[in-house]
Each structure stands twice: as structure tokens, then as C-alpha cells.
């Protein structure tokens, strides 16, 4: 299973490995500023180490074996962890999404995303027809359903939506007819309109803040968005300097080390820092897309593109929320938000991409 070939070492896409490490390191700087003396940086660095180890380990494995053989067990294990969370989980900030294991907090929902991607890719690896049949559509939905239900029970709206995004990505990649895709989009919009009045008050307020920022009660639920925008805007082009951000530091910006880490970066390193960060993300995504294009089979490309879609969706939702063009949904910024499990999950994707690249030539 593991074949170590020195020739292949030259084949490693170092940029693909470097970008996420750089991003995580950059994130640590921001975390150290917004949550000083918290020990978060230490934990994040440990997670980074574990993540890199996982990625390297996966790289030297044949991804096909993982997708075909390991995925179902991984998926089942994750589902069990999700159930465990519901029974014996820890609640942080209103979300019961964590398991405490040996002094660490584990967030199984992050692994669930990776597992679902693998399972969907696995299913589509077998499909040969031109476009998705109804059966395929239903099976794919069925794969996504259990994690969605379990995550929804955790009251994690953001992650629930993420699974929807994953499913949509795979529908698109899997060859769903354009007509159906269009119909799906319409159904989505209709669904939103129907759901909107039933949203909880805080959810409505969060959406309102985006549309009508002037009306927002600064002490209400729109508070975070307003504070985030102030933090971002006040950073200017060059930022206030690492460790000199006033909004994040003085407690004006809640969750400055997780959901709003982007605001801390914007405040302390300015537009320059933000652009640098975006370049790193684009680097990561571009290299992954290149891997997908050069993959020797569908399973590989779909799987990697699945991770691409996942990462992009996270970035869109999180940074969108930081700059108030999207409502707050509790979605972290990949690699930069404090959260060990999420870092590891991304590195699973990175490892898989590296593995696909290494085996792109049909030998």
C-alpha cells in the first residue's frame, strides 16, 4: 500500500504543501494577537504538525485504496462520533459540537465533511453514463443526509449549509443535466423564501445587518458584523501592526480568534496582509485544481475538486461575513481560524491531492 519511491519525491508539489503551512502560520500570528496568553497558538501548532504528518502519510498512500476501501469505514466512524457528540458532547457558545478527548477538543463535523467528500467521490468513481441518473442523485443525497441531520441537531447552521454546498458541487461535477441544475437553483431560492419567516430572531437580525447596516442595534445580534466591519475598515492599507489591533484586542470583536480571524488580519496587516493571505489561498486552490485536471481518473479529480469547493465555500462564507456581504453563519476560515480538527481535515484534503498528483501517470 505504501510505496516509497525516491524518484517520486521530486514529483511532490511543494507549493501545494507550502501554501497551507504558510496559511496556518499566518493564522497563528493573528491568533496570538487576538487571544494572547490563551495557549491557542500552541495547540494550533500541534494540530499543524499532526496535519502535516497526516498529509505526508496520505501522500505516500495510493488514494484509490483510500477512496475505495477506507472511505466507508471512515464515514461510519465519523457518523458514530457525531452521534457521540450529541450524547456526550461539550457545548461551546451555544453549539454542542465538540468532544473532549485527552485534553483536546475534537470537532467531528470537520472530519464528516472530508468523509462525505470521499464517499461522494467514491460513488461517482463508478458512474460511467453521460449524466447523473435519478438513482445517482438520490444516492448522493442519501450519503449526505445522515451527517446533515446529525450536524443540524448540533444547531450548527453553518456546517449544515456546508454539506449542502458539498452536495451541490458534486451534483455539478458529476454531470447533472443543466436543466436539473437550474431547477435545483430555483428550488433553493424558493426554499429560502419559505424558510425566511421561520428563522429564529437572531438569524433574521444577522441577515438584516447585511441589508440594512444603519438600522442595526449595535448591542444586538448585528453587533459582531458591525464590529468586524469597523475592525476591517480601520486597518487601512497597511494595518495597525501585529499585536496592535484595538478592536480585536480590547474585546470589541467577539470570537476574534475563530470566526472573525479575518477581521484581525485585516485590522493588523491591512489590505496588504489580506491580499497576501488571498494569494496564499489562491495558490493552494490553483495547485489543487491543477492536480484535479491532471488526475488519471474521475475519482481523483472529483475528490480533489470536492475539497476545492469545500475550501472556497468556507472562504466565501467566512470572509463574506467578515466584510458584511454575508450573514454570520459560524463558518471558520480554513487553516487560519483556531480549530485543530479543521486544520487536520484540510490537510487530509491536501494529502489526498498530493497523492493524486504523485500517481497521475498511468504506469
Amino acid at each position: 500500500m505504501v510505496d516509497l519511491n525516491t524518484r517520486k519525491l521530486k514529483d511532490v508539489d511543494w507549493l501545494l504543501l507550502f501554501a497551507p503551512i504558510a496559511l496556518t502560520a499566518f493564522g497563528c500570528l493573528a491568533i496570538s494577537s487576538s487571544a494572547p496568553d490563551s495557549g491557542f497558538v500552541k495547540k494550533q501548532v500541534i494540530s499543524l504538525g499532526i496535519g502535516v504528518a497526516i498529509a505526508v502519510g496520505i501522500m505516500f498512500t495510493d488514494y484509490r485504496k483510500i477512496v475505495l476501501n477506507v472511505a466507508p469505514f471512515f464515514y461510519a466512524a465519523v457518523l458514530m462520533l457525531l452521534v457521540l457528540v450529541l450524547i456526550a458532547g461539550t457545548q461551546i457558545n451555544g453549539n454542542k459540537a465538540w468532544l473532549r478527548v485527552a485534553g483536546f477538543s475534537l470537532q467531528p463535523s470537520e472530519f464528516a465533511k472530508a468523509a462525505t467528500i470521499l464517499m461522494l467521490a467514491r460513488h461517482l468513481a463508478h458512474v460511467r453514463q453521460a449524466s447523473l441518473s435519478i438513482r445517482d442523485i438520490l444516492i448522493m443525497a442519501a450519503i449526505v443526509l445522515p451527517p446533515i441531520i446529525l450536524v443540524y441537531a448540533e444547531h450548527d447552521t453553518g456546517t449544515t449549509l456546508t454539506f449542502g454546498a458539498i452536495l451541490a458541487t458534486f451534483y455539478f461535477l458529476g454531470g447533472m443535466r443543466k436543466l436539473l441544475l437550474a431547477a435545483g437553483a430555483v428550488a433553493l431560492v424558493v426554499g429560502l423564501v419559505v424558510v425566511f419567516p421561520h428563522l429564529k430572531r437572531y438569524q433574521i437580525e444577522r441577515i438584516n445587518v447585511i441589508i440594512h447596516p444603519e438600522e442595526a442595534d449595535p448591542r444586538g445580534f448585528g453587533y459582531q458584523t458591525i464590529q468586524s466591519v469597523i475592525a476591517v475598515g480601520s486597518g487601512g492599507v497597511l494595518g495597525k501592526g501585529i499585536g496592535h489591533g484595538t478592536q480585536g484586542k480590547l474585546g470589541f470583536l467577539p470570537f476574534a480568534w475563530t470566526d472573525f480571524i479575518g477581521a484581525v488580519v485585516a485590522e493588523e496587516t491591512g489590505l496588504v496582509g489580506i491580499l497576501f493571505m488571498m494569494v496564499l489561498y489562491l495558490l493552494l486552490i490553483w495547485r489543487m485544481i491543477a492536480v484535479a485536471k491532471s488526475s488519471r481518473d474521475r475519482a481523483g479529480s472529483m475528490m480533489v475538486m470536492g475539497f476545492v469547493g469545500l475550501i472556497t465555500f468556507h472562504i466565501l462564507c467566512n470572509l463574506g461575513m467578515v466584510v458584511a456581504i454575508m450573514p454570520i453563519m459560524g463558518i471558520p476560515l480554513p487553516l487560519m481560524s483556531y480549530g485543530g480538527t479543521a486544520v487536520m481535515a484540510v490537510f487530509i484534503g491536501v494529502g489526498l491531492a498530493l497523492s493524486v498528483r504523485m500517481r497521475r501517470f498511468v504506469n
Binding site: V232, S234, L275, L282
Partner: protein, 646 residues
């Protein structure tokens, strides 16, 4: 580039990958643009908001200036009080805060709502909700510090009127600016805000701008819970200017004691005719301004305040400047001066018959003292002959009378630096026409009444003393005033009263005759001969009895005449008089009976201080008594009334 496997199915995976690739690009570009908008295009705006977020300006109240008497005795001061305040900016849930305050600290909901909802009130300025909080209150606030960080206890200066009711009308009181006042453009210009505590009434009000000083400000960096982390800047407050008044505490005390010890009501003014400085001003009944000072806001307090405001005896009325009384015979001094100046009577020939009264039309107006025979002007003053002045008045005629008393300043405001002074009523044809439409024509009868200060005469005591002081000073009419000096502070230089008398040309002979006449009232067995004025001070004066109701109808005390006495000392000597006192005792009966003794003691106190020895034996006992009583008001008394605050 791409492996063939991506093309061999019916749909184009490669294309779809490209679609995703470019969607990714769109997302990043959109985000990039948005970041640019916030961080570049709108940067300054957000920078300002970030600053505002974290900087709070906490006002440091400036200590209000003291008010002192002319000898440096502090009459009004500030004392630290422990108050409970609430800061609107820190309130997260209005209802919660309101309920907590109403239920636990007994705060009036309505009052607080008004202040909370006031748009003009800066949100960072704390609202005073309870003064002189009890131990239990303080404990509650401390226990709920985390739950209600917006409710705090603070030591704040509280105004204290050390002698309670003494000189209350002069000193005034303090209270919160009310909405009507805020609408006044003058107030807005002065920078008064809702919730400000300002002087209301008296010197507190008139010189509020000098007394209030300038608040300081403490600019602090706060965290998101509003807790100060560090000081950016402290601008120290500038204390208000202390105001030295012209009052003399000892003279004021004696004046007040004269009324209270005899259960009398009325008013008295002691003034230095050489410059218009007021040494004492009393109006009885009076009120305790401390009630206002310790009840700037609170529900139970309203009762205390309302008790004063609604008291049917009108304790807040300053009778010295707002009371309107017929002057009675004190008017005769004005008549005499006018008559002599006009030449109706002359120094050589001033004899007029008394006649026991005068017949006017079908009425006979009696001389209350009987028939004096025929008198010259000196005798007429000394014995207060009504008949003499009836005839003099008819010879002068109402227009001449009106003309002269107006020159003496009657019927006009004196210009004293107190609010609420009234103009009073003096005889005039035009006045009768206006107020008596059924009988508008001025008749001789009216002149007769006017000649001895009845009928169409109703003036406040201050007006009378100013007029007669000007006469005895030989034509120099000073503006009565209470302000002597405002002490210097960093903000303002020292200020003195700007003293410009009105000059009236009066013949020295006239003045001599009139002053001699007044001297005789006391020292030649005149109407005040038996009162017991110490000879050495050479006091002169005039009695007066103001009719309240026709004599035949007098039933009880409330129908008794008002008793007047006005005096200056020394008179009929080579020196100018240095003190003048006027007193009116409501329903006191004859002038000599009720008011003259009061004036005697007031002048005696003045001269005793000047000579350094008591010039009346009774003064020794009285002073001890007065000092004892003074200790019954002020802070010690307050402590007896309320539980001690630790």
C-alpha cells in the same frame, strides 16, 4: 494537458472543472473589491468609528463655588454625598435596568424614563437616580456589579446650606434644569444640558455661571464592556468662583431671630445707604434649601419638595422684593421731601393745620392719632400727623406726587441682583383708570389716601428703603445689591460689583430738615420714642401702619394692620448714615409696636460689632441663643434627621 479520461464521457468534466475554477476567481475578486472598499475607500470613516468605540469621555464635575458673607463666613458649601448613578451608554436592556432600580432602590420610574428618553442628553453622562444612598442601597449596588454594570455608586458633591433657612431667599437653591428652561435660547447658549444641576432662585441662579465652574473630563480607553482600562488624558475641572456676598451673618441672624422668636411673619432689609450693599434680607416664612439640595431626584423626596412648594403660606415668596404692601406713614418722608423741593412748604413756613383729619367730599378721613393742632414739618414727621399730610397732599396734587415718588425710584424695580422683583403700585391717574373702570376718575379722596401711603400705594420693602436711603444720602440712589466679589479662579478673574448711583439733585436744606425730623421720631419722643433705641447711635426713622381692612371691620389678628418701621443711623450728625433698616411685620399693629423693636435690635447688632461691645444688654443673651439655634440647622441637623451614611 488533460488526460483523455476526462473527455471520454458524454459530459464534459473538464469544462465543469474550468467553470468551478473561474467561479473561484470571481469569489476572490468580489471579496478583494469589498476589502478594498472598506479598507481604502471608507478607511477614514471606520478609523473614526474604531476610535469612538474605544474612547469614552467621563465628565469630572467641577466643584461649585461657595457663597460667603462679607466677613468670610461660608454660608453655602459642598459636601460629599454617596449617590447612585446609572450610565445610559452601558444599559443593555432598559426594562431590566428600570425594574432593578425601581424594585431595589425605590427609584421613581417616570422620572427616570424621562431622563433616559431625552434625546439631548449625552449617553455617556450618568443619570443621578438616588442621593445619599443608605448602606443597604450601597450593598445592593456592589452585589449586582456584574449583572448591572450600568448602575454605580459614586461620591458626588452635594450642595449644603449651612444655616438652613437663614437667608434662603437670598441664597436660593439648586435643582435640575427643566425642559422649559432648556428651550430658552439664553440657556442653550450657555451650554446647559438636560440633567445639569443649576441654581434656581436667589444668588445660586443669578450668578450660576460664575458658581458652576467648568467640568473636567477624563478621556479613557475602555474595553467593550465600557470598563476603563487606561487614562488617555485628564482635563482637571475648574472650580466655580466663590461668591462673597454683602450679607453679614450676625446681622442676618439677629434679623431672622427677631421674627421667629415672636412668631411673626413679614420681611426686613438692612442696607448700607452709602453703597447699596445689603447686609441682611429676611422674609418669613422661609424654607430650607437643603430640602432641594438633597432631593434633586427621587420619589420620596418629591414629597418634601412639594410640601414647600404647595405650602399655602408661600414660604418661597421673598416678601422683601415681591411682597406688595401699602407703606402707611413711612410714605410721609417722600411727601415731605417732595413738598420742600417744590416749595409747597418752605423751611421758614411749613405750618399746616392737622384738624384731626380732613373732610373730603362727604367723607371725613381721620387722623389716627387725633388732633395735633398746627405743626411745622418737623413736628409733622416726629408725631406722624396724618392731617398735615392730607392737606399737603391736596396742595401738591396727584400728578406732582406721582412725579416725585417716581424720581425717588418708587413704582420701578430697584435692579437688585435677585430674580422676581416686582414693580409695585404708586398713585397715578392712569393707574386708577386702568384698574377701576367703574370709577376711573382720580378724586381728591384718592389723593388724601395716597398722602399717607394708603389706597393706591402697594410696594415691596426694598423699594421703600432704597428711595429713603437716597434721600438721606442727599440725592445718591444706589442700586441695592448682594454681590460683593467673585473670587479668582484659573478660569476667571476677580469680579467686583459695578456701582453707579443715580443722582438726583436735592437741596441740602431739605435733606437736613427731613433727617432731623426722622431723628426726632426716635430721640424727641416721637412715635418711636418709647422703643428704646440706644442714644449713642443717633438713629432716625419713621413708623408706618398699613391698613389691611377698615378699622371697623377688624376681627382677628389677620385683620390687624401691618406694622412698618424704617430707620437710618447715624442721622442728624456730621456723618452720613452707614446703615438703613426697614422691617414690616404682617398684622403687627402699630409701627412702633411690632417693627420698630426689630429694627432696633438689628441696628444694635450692627453697631455692637462695629464698636466691639454690646450696645444693648439684651443682645448678649440673644446672641448666645441665636448661635445655639444655628447649630440646630445645617449638617448636624441633617444627620439627626437621616440615618448616618458610613
Amino acid at each position: 494537458m488533460s488526460s483523455t479520461n476526462l473527455r471520454d464521457e458524454g459530459f464534459n468534466l473538464e469544462l465543469r472543472v474550468y467553470v468551478i475554477q473561474y467561479l473561484v476567481l470571481v469569489v476572490f475578486i468580489a471579496l478583494g473589491i469589498r476589502f478594498y472598499i472598506l479598507q481604502v475607500a471608507r478607511h477614514e470613516d471606520y478609523q473614526a468609528r474604531a476610535e469612538n468605540n474605544r474612547i469614552r469621555e467621563i465628565p469630572i464635575p467641577a466643584p461649585r463655588g461657595q457663597i460667603l458673607d462679607q466677613n468670610g463666613n461660608v454660608l453655602v458649601d459642598n459636601t460629599p454625598a454617596f449617590n447612585i448613578v446609572v450610565t445610559p451608554e452601558d444599559i443593555t436592556n432598559k426594562e431590566d435596568t428600570l425594574n432593578a432600580l425601581v424594585q431595589n432602590l425605590d427609584v421613581d420610574r417616570g422620572e427616570l424614563m424621562v431622563q433616559l428618553n431625552d434625546p439631548l442628553r449625552p449617553k455617556s453622562q450618568p443619570i443621578l437616580v438616588k442621593q445619599n444612598a443608605s448602606k443597604a442601597d450601597r450593598a445592593w449596588v456592589a452585589a449586582h456589579e456584574l449583572e448591572h454594570p450600568e448602575i454605580r455608586g459614586e461620591t458626588q458633591p452635594q450642595r449644603i446650606y449651612k444655616y438652613g433657612k437663614l437667608a434662603a431667599h437670598v441664597l436660593g437653591y439648586i435643582g435640575q434644569v427643566n425642559p422649559k428652561q432648556l428651550e430658552n435660547p439664553e440657556f442653550k447658549e450657555a451650554g446647559y444640558k438636560a440633567g445639569d444641576i443649576i441654581g434656581q432662585g436667589g444668588i445660586e441662579a443669578v450668578y450660576d455661571k460664575l458658581l458652576r465652574g467648568k467640568d473636567g473630563v477624563r478621556r479613557v480607553i475602555v474595553d467593550s464592556r465600557g470598563r476603563p482600562i487606561s487614562d488617555l488624558e485628564i482635563i482637571e475641572p475648574i472650580k466655580g468662583q466663590d461668591i462673597v456676598t454683602t450679607l453679614d451673618l450676625d446681622v442676618q441672624r439677629v434679623a431672622e431671630e427677631q421674627f421667629y422668636s415672636k412668631n411673626d411673619t413679614g420681611a426686613a432689609v438692612a442696607m448700607d445707604p452709602r453703597n447699596g450693599e445689603i447686609l441682611a434680607m429676611v422674609s418669613v416664612p422661609s424654607f430650607d434649601p437643603n430640602v432641594f439640595a438633597r432631593n434633586v431626584v427621587s420619589s420620596e423626596s418629591r414629597k418634601e419638595v412639594n410640601a414647600i412648594v404647595n405650602d399655602p403660606s408661600h414660604p418661597m415668596l421673598n416678601k422683601a422684593i415681591q411682597g406688595m404692601y401699602p407703606t402707611g406713614s413711612t410714605w410721609k418722608i417722600l411727601m415731605a421731601t417732595a413738598g420742600l423741593e417744590e416749595g409747597i412748604i418752605t423751611p421758614k413756613n411749613s405750618r399746616i393745620v392737622c384738624g384731626g383729619g380732613i373732610q373730603v367730599g362727604n367723607r371725613f378721613v381721620h387722623d389716627s392719632a387725633g388732633n395735633h393742632g398746627a405743626l411745622d414739618i418737623h413736628g409733622a414727621i416726629v408725631h406722624s400727623c396724618d392731617g398735615y399730610f392730607f392737606r399737603l397732599g391736596l396742595k401738591m396734587g396727584v400728578d406732582m406726587i406721582h412725579d416725585w415718588v417716581t424720581r425717588f425710584g418708587m413704582g420701578q424695580r430697584t435692579g437688585i441682583d435677585l430674580p422676581g422683583e416686582v414693580r409695585g403700585i404708586i398713585p397715578s391717574r392712569e393707574w386708577k383708570k386702568r384698574v377701576n373702570p367703574r370709577d376711573p376718575v382720580w378724586k381728591d379722596f384718592d389723593t388724601v389716601l395716597a398722602s399717607f401711603g394708603q389706597g393706591s400705594v402697594a410696594v415691596p420693602p426694598l423699594q421703600l428703603i432704597r428711595a429713603e436711603a437716597g434721600i438721606v444720602m442727599g440725592g445718591e440712589f444706589f442700586v441695592p445689591h448682594l454681590f460683593k466679589e467673585a473670587k479668582e479662579t484659573q478660569l476667571a478673574p476677580v469680579k467686583y460689583y459695578d456701582n453707579k448711583p443715580t443722582e438726583l439733585t436735592l437741596s441740602p436744606v431739605t435733606i437736613d430738615i427731613v433727617t432731623y425730623g426722622m431723628w426726632g421720631v426716635i430721640n424727641e419722643g416721637g412715635t418711636a420714642g418709647g422703643v428704646g433705641f440706644p442714644r449713642e447711635i443717633n438713629a432716625g426713622g419713621k413708623t408706618g401702619t398699613a391698613q389691611v381692612i377698615a378699622k371697623e371691620k377688624v376681627r382677628g389678628k389677620e385683620h390687624k394692620d401691618h406694622s412698618w418701621f424704617i430707620s437710618f443711623a447715624p442721622m442728624h450728625t456730621s456723618e452720613k448714615p452707614e446703615i438703613g433698616v426697614v422691617a414690616i411685620t404682617e398684622h403687627g399693629g402699630w409701627g412702633a409696636q411690632a417693627s420698630a423693636p426689630k429694627v432696633k435690635f438689628i441696628e444694635a447688632e450692627y453697631f455692637s460689632k462695629k464698636f466691639g461691645r454690646p450696645i444693648l444688654p439684651e443682645l448678649v443673651a440673644m446672641n448666645t441663643q441665636a448661635k445655639m439655634e444655628a447649630s440646630q440647622t445645617g449638617p448636624a441637623a441633617d444627620r439627626k434627621r437621616r440615618p448616618v451614611v458610613q
